[in-house]
């Protein structure tokens, strides 16, 4: 397991170093100032967000026993999106404690709030069923999306940074303060350690209730804990990135092809893979700026969706054939 951790960290480090060399105007080892800018504004946040989404994806897929589960299933992204928009409403700009917060902290609160609501609704009878979680999550996601669009049609000309697309597509928020990034990094770091500790239990609970219980696991407790931790990790990532798609869905699947279904190994490999893939997507978005017909830097969410979707499809079909 420790060897796997070392190899995974090594692979991610190599990817990160390679991506540091990619700029919007040239490819090569940059000067110190630019290197520092790429490291702190791009490579580290992208790695942080990618690893968070991938490890949360592993957890959701195991707990919900659904290979299509992704970290946004519990309304985390729509909660963040709605909160980030609400933050900019004129009526809230006058409320002292809200205007004292950064938009990203407010998005974090929104993500946590909506996820908590979903978890409370799912576990109101003391029992969490995967199907209920998926359905309640889908309903709350729809409601948040609808409220977001309703507010947007009322307050259509809002002032603020980032634009409406920022929290719909997902990108690394260069406007996020360092305090906000530190807060997210702390949350993701603690959450990841807890998920690694929880990963052997995930191997058992994906079997089903009776078998998990006969192997000594209190399945409801692990489901509840896992969903809370994974949602916290996702919320911490979404607060500084918006909903970047596909990473939480495809990285666990690609990692499975390397290390099988054992969640202990999967948690480590998928985390490194998530960090590496998102760092590469970020480097690609910088590189594409040098292409003539692209006039603005593409949000990472666009790249992960455009490239991630077909890439996953090809790998999936090839794997099925084998």
């Amino acid at each position: 397991m420790f060897v796997l951790l070392l190899i995974s960290s090594g692979v991610w480090s190599l990817v990160a170093i390679a991506c540091l060399m990619v700029g919007s105007r040239s490819v090569g080892w940059p000067e110190y100032e630019i290197l520092s800018l790429r490291l702190y504004n791009h490579v580290l946040p992208a790695s942080l967000i990618g690893s968070a989404l991938a490890c949360a994806g592993v957890t959701y897929q195991a707990i919900l026993r659904n290979p299509l589960a992704d970290p946004y299933l519990l309304g985390t992204s729509s909660g963040a999106m709605l909160a980030a928009y609400i933050y900019r409403l004129p009526v809230f700009a006058t409320v002292g404690w809200i205007s004292a917060l950064t938009p990203h902290t407010f998005a974090l609160l929104g993500a946590l709030g909506i996820t908590t609501l979903v978890l409370i609704l799912c576990g109101s009878r003391g029992v969490i069923h995967p199907v209920t979680v998926i359905l309640v999550g889908a309903i709350i996601n729809s409601i948040c999306g609808a409220v977001f669009l309703l507010l947007n049609s009322i307050f259509w000309d809002l002032q603020g940074t980032g634009g409406i697309l920022t929290f719909m597509v997902g990108d690394i928020q260069t406007t996020a303060s360092w305090q906000q990034i530190y807060l997210s990094a702390l949350g993701i770091g603690i959450g990841w350690v807890l998920l690694v500790v929880l990963s052997p239990f995930l191997n058992v609970i994906r079997l089903g209730e009776d078998e998990a219980s006969s192997l000594g696991v209190k399945i409801q407790r692990i489901r509840g804990l896992g969903l809370i931790i994974a949602s916290g990790v996702t919320a911490a990532a979404v607060a500084i990135s918006g909903p970047i798609g596909f990473i939480g869905l495809i990285c666990p699947h690609i990692a499975r092809w390397f290390c099988g279904n054992d969640n202990r190994r999967l948690m480590i490999v998928a985390t490194a893979l998530g960090a590496s893939v998102l760092t590469m997507a970020d480097a690609l978005s910088r590189y594409l700026l040098s292409v003539q017909f692209i006039h603005t830097i593409l949000p990472i969410g666009v790249i992960t969706a455009i490239l991630g979707g077909p890439f996953f499809l090809i790998l999936l079909l090839r794997h099925r054939r084998e």
């Binding site: 052997p200 009776d210 000594g216 099988g260």
Partner: protein, 265 residues
């Protein structure tokens, strides 16, 4: 926390006293009294809906009940889930696995109750897994995906997961449902061999009267949640009891020191 059960000191592995299970207003198991001794194989027989699966699920603590269940002389309410898992393994009618699960991964999960908080793989665990795989004829299949195996091989893998748990008792819920006659016979022979070799107690719910009774020491017959009979196979399995259990006239035919039941309708 280690279990306080010392093998050999207790003859009664399982004892149920006045065991009653209600689901809402419906009484699913009604005042059952039975016991199971060290190394015995007990067949649990009854028609569909007689309460066989509910009984097995109750015995692993999955269903609330009235009365008393004693595992190794200690009430099930006093066992921690993890310590009970070190003593009692359970194989449901349709064991779960995900596509792509390799045989070795399925077997490793069986060691979960014995592992520490980080659940790392230890050499002794791997040694035990290979020993069980060898015994069940799975050693060449360890890297195969579970969905590529035949029904019989798959059932052996899930039985292997139970054995890797190093239990004193294995509860099997209709383990041969999806197997043909040859594989059913092979499976029951294997069960018998393991019970004798390892001294494991087995309680198995079965549909096939003849195969089950041919390989069990004791039998428990359920009808609509009530215990119709429990005891030695030759004493209990008579035409009257079996006919009543399945609500149809049955004839007992003696054949080469064994006996078989055939329906008369």
């Amino acid at each position: 926390m280690s279990s306080d059960f010392s093998p050999g000191s207790i003859q009664k592995v399982l004892q149920a006293d006045h065991l009653t299970v209600r689901l809402g207003q419906h009484v699913v198991l009604n005042n059952l009294n039975f016991e199971l001794g060290t190394g015995q194989i007990m067949a649990l027989i009854g028609a569909n809906g007689s309460g066989k699966t509910t009984l097995l699920r109750t015995l692993i603590g999955r269903v609330g009940f009235e009365g008393q269940i004693l595992w190794m002389g200690k009430s099930i309410r006093d066992w921690s889930l993890r310590n009970l898992a070190k003593q009692v393994a359970y194989m449901p009618q349709s064991p779960s696995s995900d596509p792509g699960d390799r045989v070795i991964e399925v077997l490793r999960i069986g060691r979960f109750p014995h592992r520490g908080w980080m659940s790392l793989d230890h050499d002794e665990d791997e040694h035990l897994i290979r020993e069980v795989a060898q015994e069940l004829g799975l050693i060449d299949l360890l890297d195969r995906a579970i969905e590529t195996l035949s029904g019989g091989q798959r059932q052996r893998v899930f039985l292997g997961r139970c054995l890797v748990q190093s239990p004193r008792v294995i509860l099997l819920d209709e383990p041969t449902t999806f197997l043909d006659l040859k594989h059913q016979t092979d499976f029951y022979r294997l069960i018998r061999k393991l019970a004798e070799k390892r001294g494991i107690c087995i309680l198995m719910a079965c549909h096939d009267l003849n195969l089950a009774t041919a390989h069990a020491d004791k039998v428990m017959v359920l009808k609509s949640g009530r215990l119709l009979a429990c005891g030695n196979i030759r004493q209990v399995m008579n035409e009257k009891i079996v006919s009543e259990a399945f609500d149809m006239p049955m004839k007992r035919i003696e054949l080469n020191q064994s006996f078989h039941f055939v329906p008369l309708e």
